[in-house]
């Protein structure tokens, strides 16, 4: 886990509405949430020395898509849990091959998110 007790989550998603919804879903659990609007900005957060426990990764984004961002993070040796969340069901294989830990289809439900958080032991 990242160095503090609070679970730190990075939302990587180009749509502002979706980011707002994810932020509210996560804030209910007292998590610390950071947002990045594309894969390149997400990578930069890690390059800047920030640590996260969980990344919620969209697929289609400008500058760098989610599969490439996932592959880049794994190539950097970043062990963070990465959950791909996309409407493209055909990208499951690509995401898992790139190193994502889980794959969820949009739109994200509270139940699906809660199940993943429990599976990763981020919830008591």
């Amino acid at each position: 886990m990242a160095s503090s007790q609070v679970v730190k989550v990075l939302i990587v998603e180009d749509d502002i509405v979706t980011r707002r919804i994810y932020r509210t879903m996560l804030s209910r659990f007292g998590f610390e949430v950071t947002e990045a609007e594309d894969g390149k900005k997400a990578i930069n957060h890690f390059v800047d020395g920030n640590e996260y426990d969980l990344v919620l990764m969209d697929k289609e984004m400008p500058k760098m898509d989610g599969v490439e961002a996932t592959r880049t993070l794994r190539g950097m040796g970043i062990p963070v849990k990465i959950v791909a969340i996309t409407g493209d069901e055909h990208s499951r294989g690509a995401f898992l091959d790139a190193g994502a830990d889980e794959f969820l289809l949009k739109p994200l439900s509270i139940l699906a998110l809660t199940d993943i958080l429990k599976a990763f032991n981020f919830l008591n």
Binding site: I16, T18, T24, E60, G87, K106, I110
Partner: protein, 146 residues
Amino acid sequence: MASAPFKAQLTDLLNSMFAMDFLDEQFKELQMLEEASGPGFLTEVVTLFCGDAERIISQLDALLNEPAVDFGKVDANVHQLKGSSSSVGAKRVALVCIKFRNVCQENDKEGCIAALHEIRHEFDELRKKFQTMLQLEQQIQDLDSK
């Protein structure tokens, strides 16, 4: 209670929006989130969505009026609108976005223009209903807080 008739109107409005597929189950997720996180969340998300959708639709209009249409940019914008409409449960808007992407991927300019008109129509209808919903919620809140 003074707010009772407005609550009834709001219930009727939302029921009709679900029945006519303006909204789907995802909107109910947002309603549950508001119950958990407090008032104001739905207003914020709906307002964000409407502003963002208006921006994207204007952008699409501009892109399709170019002499040489960049279908890649059109597709990227439609994809974004599909994403935000799916996230708020705006079912009819999301469905038209899927149709739009299909004609866009065939580089069909006329098809794209027709799809844009349809998106504009669906979004305008939805926005009117959202505005009524937010007005009713505000009236209810004002009356209940007295």
